[in-house]
Amino acid sequence: MLEINQLHKSYAIGDSSLHVLKGIDLSVEKGEMVAIMGSSGSGKSTLLNIIGMLDEADSGDYILDNVPIKNLTEKKAAIYRNKFLGFIFQSFNLINYKNALENVALPLYYQGLKRKERQEKARFHLQKVGLLDWQTHLPSELSGGQKQRVAIARALASNPKLLLADEPTGALDTTTSGEIMAFLQQLNDEGKTILIVTHEEDIAAMCKRVVRLRDGVIMEDKKVTQVRAESHV
């Protein structure tokens, strides 16, 4: 599903450069739920951004669903992002002047679907996250947990191969975090491959595999027994 070999990335800071990723090897199978952990500065977000094609590696291979991701043009990257990936952000990143339904439908617009089809699919996914009744509400009228659920629905809308979540519960309280995680687990049970970047141990414990980064290298990569979110809250 996802194959990463000897990935390097550095950022230029003034005259010197900061080596953020120092040769990452990672392989993720279909249906896995992986937590990427590390303290801030460990390179976990950079890794996620590269996997999400939001950023590009300096060297190394990255193969997603048998497609080598390298030297992408902006246009190609846009198509791949739309086709392969669904993003869930810490700060939700909903478009504030669009209502819930329109936000969910946006990736489908970029897929070139017809309006009617877009709305139908968007409604389906909103229903899946339990927010069909809120479809005409603007993000400002939704609670944090609801916003994140809209964001999840949006990430699911284009039916991506891989869900990428960057601190999905970072801005939420414990109860809401539990709900969100329970939902992500449910999606994983249905077969979605999910990658979660987090620095919270209890969130990581709800995944099936934990990858720990420190100073740009993988320190530990082990399967864990999944803690079900329902039992947690």
Binding site: N49, G52, L54, D55, E74, K75, A78, I79, R81, N82, K83, F87, F89, S91, N93, L94, I95, Y97, K98, E102, L106, P107, Y109, Y110, Q111, R115, R154, S158
Partner: protein, 409 residues
């Protein structure tokens, strides 16, 4: 190609971000409004100048006579100077190099009648050249010609208002009009931009009038135009020379202001032309200034808008928007707003000019208006500037890595 979804996106964006849309629209509306009004007023000033001199040829010279005020070379003061046909011939011959058209004029007041209609009019007896000097527009029949002069035919050319007064619905051509007891055949009808007074006139061959009224060769006034190729200074010199020669001819003191008077339009025109060209430069500066202010305004707003939308752009890109679609959505939105706003400003400006225009007549502003071409091209310039000002940051924004755009919060 028309992409309804793209337009739906754009309308939503305009509608949901009203402050932003109104702000950029207002800048353009205001710039075009100011541009239209300033240009309109300046054009109005120009029109006033043009109108003031539309009646007569701009290169006219009028020569009139009066009584001497100073004794000179043994002649007493108070002597009346009377021009005659020989003076006309003298000027025509001696100043041939500089004279374009020349005519003598005799003024008479006549009681005119046709059938039951009668009225009093001014009559001018003239040479055929008079038509060009006065810019008389003969729209029916003909003007006085050389044959009339030679044969002293009893014909008249009547003004449009004379025709309306006396002939009512009858075609005056070929009919006889009675002037103080003598019938004259009407050979032409004319119009004149100089106004009603100029159209309530009759023209008659000079030779006919001289024979009928006094049987002499007296002339009241001589009008001429100098050759158009003379520049103002040459024309002024010509006028001064003419005045000097005429004074010598009539034994008038060189500093006598009344006996022989040469009024030269070149003197006036020189000042007016200078003033209009200064005015023209002023108009240009004002127009350019307004336009530049508008361009700067819309550019600022576009840069601000793109900055404001950076995060939205990042989200859209993360969801699979191509750079092209990002640029398109920002640009089309800005072009749409500037076009509507520009058109609105144009309507508003033209409306205001129409509304206050007539009441500005007392301030020497006539018919303040702007050509549509001018305002449309000004609006297009603003749209172009807005597009360019929007394109560069939009292009830049479309190239930002989404992660950079998203981090910005």
């Amino acid at each position: 190609m028309f992409d309804i979804d793209l337009w739906r996106e754009i309308f939503q964006s305009i509608n949901k971000n009203r402050t932003r849309s109104l702000l950029s629209g207002f800048t353009v509306t205001f710039a075009i409004l100011l541009f239209t009004i300033l240009f309109g007023l300046a054009n109005g000033l120009n029109n006033s100048f043009a109108e003031a001199f539309v009646d007569d040829a701009a290169n006219s010279v009028f020569i009139r006579s009066g009584a001497t005020t100073k004794a000179y070379k043994g002649m007493q003061a108070g002597r009346r100077i009377q021009f005659r046909n020989e003076d006309y011939k003298y000027i025509k011959k001696d100043f041939d190099d500089n004279v374009e058209f020349i005519t003598s004029r005799i003024y008479k007041n006549v009681a005119a009648s046709f059938r039951n209609e009668k009225n009093n009019y001014s009559l001018r007896a003239v040479h055929p050249d008079h038509q060009y000097l006065e810019k008389t527009k003969v729209y029916q029949g003909r003007y006085i010609n050389q044959r009339d002069m030679d044969l002293k035919t009893k014909v008249v050319v009547i003004g449009k208002l004379v025709k309306e007064d006396l002939f009512l619905k009858v075609d005056p051509l070929g009919n006889y009009i009675n002037l103080s007891g003598i019938p004259y055949k009407v050979v032409g009808v004319f119009a004149d931009d100089g106004g009603d007074d100029e159209e309530r006139l009759l023209y008659m061959p000079l030779s006919t009038a001289q024979q009928v009224y006094g049987n002499n060769d007296y002339v009241d006034q001589i009008n001429l135009t100098y050759k158009p190729e003379l520049d103002f200074n040459q024309a002024i010199d010509f006028g001064l020379d003419l005045e000097k020669k005429l004074k010598e001819r009539f034994l008038v003191a060189p500093n006598d202001q009344r006996a022989v008077r040469v009024f030269n339009m070149a003197m006036q025109n020189k000042n007016i032309t200078q003033m209009t060209s200064v005015l023209g430069i002023l108009i240009l500066i004002i127009g350019m200034g307004t336009l530049i202010a508008g361009i700067v305004g819309i550019s600022n707003i576009m840069i601000f808008i793109v900055k404001e939308r950076t995060k939205e752009i990042g989200i859209r890109k993360a969801l699979g928007a191509s750079p092209k679609s990002i640029v398109a959505i920002i640009l089309i939105e800005s072009i749409f707003i500037t076009t509507i706003a520009g058109y609105f400003g144009l309507l508003l400006g033209v409306g205001i000019l129409e509304w206050v225009g007539p009441s500005l007549k007392t301030y020497f502003i006539t018919n303040p208006s702007v050509s549509t071409t001018l305002v449309v091209s000004a609006t297009l310039t603003l749209i172009g500037a807005g597009t360019l000002a929007g394109y560069l940051p939009a292009k830049k924004a479309s190239k930002i890595k989404p992660i950079v755009a998203l981090r910005d919060d």
